[in-house]
Subunit: 407 residues, 2 copies
């Protein structure tokens, strides 16, 4: 192995698309055959017809925010899994609670690719500070390390002084966990005068890594790269030594869609991360993560050819209470969908004399019929709303469909 | 599979002895060749000569209480491991800290046999409440469950209400962890009105299981059996449905010795548990656990033929401070060794008019030379001691070599 985990990372975009969309019909058929939820959701879908991004974009979305309801209705996994509970390897409970399945097989969460990109190689001891209890974080990185032939110290969370002592005694080559806890451990080691010089690389996740924190860790001797993963999907994207965005994992199809919808946005525009997984046990199709990101233009300087994400840019769920009524992003999308002249829209909520006021800002070519749009708002949201027109490209590119300015 | 995990459990004592002592010379040779600590410790031992219990009993003992010193002198494992750190699977840190290695391979800790005896079968979901962080408890029971084909919920410690909720939602077949935490979880489930009826079996460890606790768990619907395991050795012995002592694991040789020595006591007498392991990665020879137990006479009614232990009967390390000086069990053994007429001895420490007074109570056939023994005490312990004679069998059978009556 050299710079790359495998040859999948450097194939052409055409090869990748041919591979993934070539396998997609069978995966959709598998989901329909084995997972009752997808059998219902995709009842009218012919898997053989889903052969490219345009056809995929027409399939219904499954929202992470609805998982708890699905699981309550049909415990424990809402009918989304294709493997019997008795044939799974582990079961997890994330806050909610949302129950997450893990199937059998090496590196089931596909994190090894991210660890490899962060510099981990066979024999490197990994000091793993994700929790192993209830949530799958610890196991995700441990199974990845084992796939690379790396031994693991399952350190978990807490016990800062004991963590620093273990670093000094066991001399791990690298760390996984949140970046802020790594800083806490290294500073404790410095305070105690304990050696931490063995620890020179880290693969972090679970919180934002801002430049000052990355710089502080660099000053403490550690090169830190990020992995973007969730308890439903495993790896979605990962940072490489180029540190120029997060390269999408080879095992998933990522779309960026208008929040609250399943409609892909143009490349570069901020939207919700939607993932279709090829996992045989948990075959989620168009799973809306609730995270905002955007596709970066061009190719990573590291040589990996897959599309890149800008990283985590906030939460997509912008459901807001206005005059005592919930307004959902999908209602905004509904209004927009009924007026073909609208390019993009953003609902802004403000306080005027202690009353909630909402205005739909729309990008449109030329003038539109404001009264017709206002009528649609009233009809869809059961609330009055103003309409204000803007030229194309005038609204900010931040993924916001509803902006709450009342606070 | 039926009542037994494998055919090893029901072989004759002769077959078992022939198997274990047949493999012992190669294991000792392996330890000497690959583990520097054992190369030094057993430098003068010819492995081919160790073909039975009598020869094994002449080998030097390695005390758990000395592990921290060995590991500090030669980090991280004191030279006791036969596998390179980079080729291990996991590394743990138990309080001390003592670092524990885990090698590669299915059910490395050999706990599956105990889970099987407790009733676990393929497909049963295990709710595992041992910690996965730092210490190997969680992994021990998880890898055992996986060896049986059981999925695992890695619940860890704490979060009582979430634990009870997970039991209600995931419907585990059984539990592993401490028995007192199981009671806490089940009582919380009762309090919340949550169903815990799926959970009917448990394999517990880590603390004493007294009859009232076992009865309370039975009343809550759970049959609880114990496993005796340590972070150095994995499984040593396990309870079966007969609930008549703990059957020794098939992968170890257990001896019960006079505390502070390596001298086997007669069957039935309480002494320190000494284990010789056939583990290829951590080939400990005559490892003194620091735990007290005794061999139970006869065979388990469940049909398993290996010797049985009475369970945990206290700590063997009775080192005591007398008049400001430490007195070790091995010093008592040293005194006894110099006087062949002594069958058994017990040093009793008392307060008389605010001063420490120590008396060596000795079992002897006929009269002995009290003054000669007192002189030996003075010479070995640098302290004066009285001597009192008793007929054979008069001293209590509780493994105590030093009894401190001052408190």
């Amino acid at each position: 192995m050299g710079d790359f985990y495998d040859q999948l990372e450097t194939r052409s975009a055409d090869q990748r698309a041919a591979d993934l969309f070539g396998r997609l019909p069978a995966q959709i058929a598998h989901a329909k055959a084995r997972a009752p939820f997808f059998a219902r959701l995709l009842a009218d879908i012919d898997p053989d017809g889903v052969t490219g991004p345009a056809q995929l974009a027409k399939l219904p979305v499954t929202r992470k925010s609805d998982l708890t309801d699905h699981q309550t209705a049909q415990p424990p996994f809402g009918g989304l899994t294709a493997t019997l509970p008795s044939d799974l390897y582990r079961v997890f409970a994330s806050p909610g609670p949302i129950y997450d399945p893990e199937g059998k097989g090496k590196d089931w969460w596909r994190i090894a690719r991210a660890l490899y990109a962060a510099g981990f190689r066979q024999g490197d001891l990994l000091h793993n500070c994700f929790s192993y209890h209830f949530t799958p974080g610890g196991v995700m990185f441990e199974t990845a390390a084992h796939a690379l032939g790396c031994p693991v110290f399952p350190a978990g969370i807490g016990n800062t002084e004991l963590q620093a002592r273990a670093v000094a005694d066991l001399k791990p080559a690298g760390y996984s966990g949140t970046p802020s806890f790594l800083k806490t451990i290294l500073e404790k080691a410095e305070e105690m005068g304990w050696d931490h010089s063995s620890l020179t690389k880290a693969c972090v996740s679970g919180e934002a890594l801002l430049p000052p924190l990355r710089g502080a860790l660099k000053d403490l001797g550690v090169d830190v790269l990020q992995a973007y993963a969730t308890a439903d999907l495993g790896l979605i994207a990962y940072e490489t030594k180029a540190m120029a965005g997060l390269v999408v994992d080879e095992g998933v199809i990522v779309e960026i869609v208008r929040p609250g919808t399943g409609d892909p946005v143009p490349d570069g525009e901020v939207g919700e991360v939607l993932v279709t997984s090829f996992n045989p046990d948990y075959p989620v199709i168009r799973f809306a993560t609730g995270d905002l990101s955007a596709v970066l233009a061009g190719q990573s300087p590291c040589g990996r050819t897959n599309i890149r994400l800008k990283g985590w840019m906030g939460r997509a769920d912008q459901t807001t209470k206005i005059k005592g009524m919930f307004v959902h992003p999908r209602q905004v999308a509904d209004v927009v969908g009924r007026h073909p002249g609208i390019i993009r829209a953003r609902l802004v909520v403000e306080k005027e004399a202690d009353a909630d006021v909402m205005t739909l800002h729309v990008e449109a070519d030329g003038a539109g019929d404001g009264q017709a749009i206002a009528d649609t708002i009233q009809s869809v949201c059961k609330l009055k709303g103003r309409v204000q027109f803007h030229p194309p490209g005038a609204l900010p590119n931040d993924g916001k469909v509803i902006e709450d300015k009342r606070a």
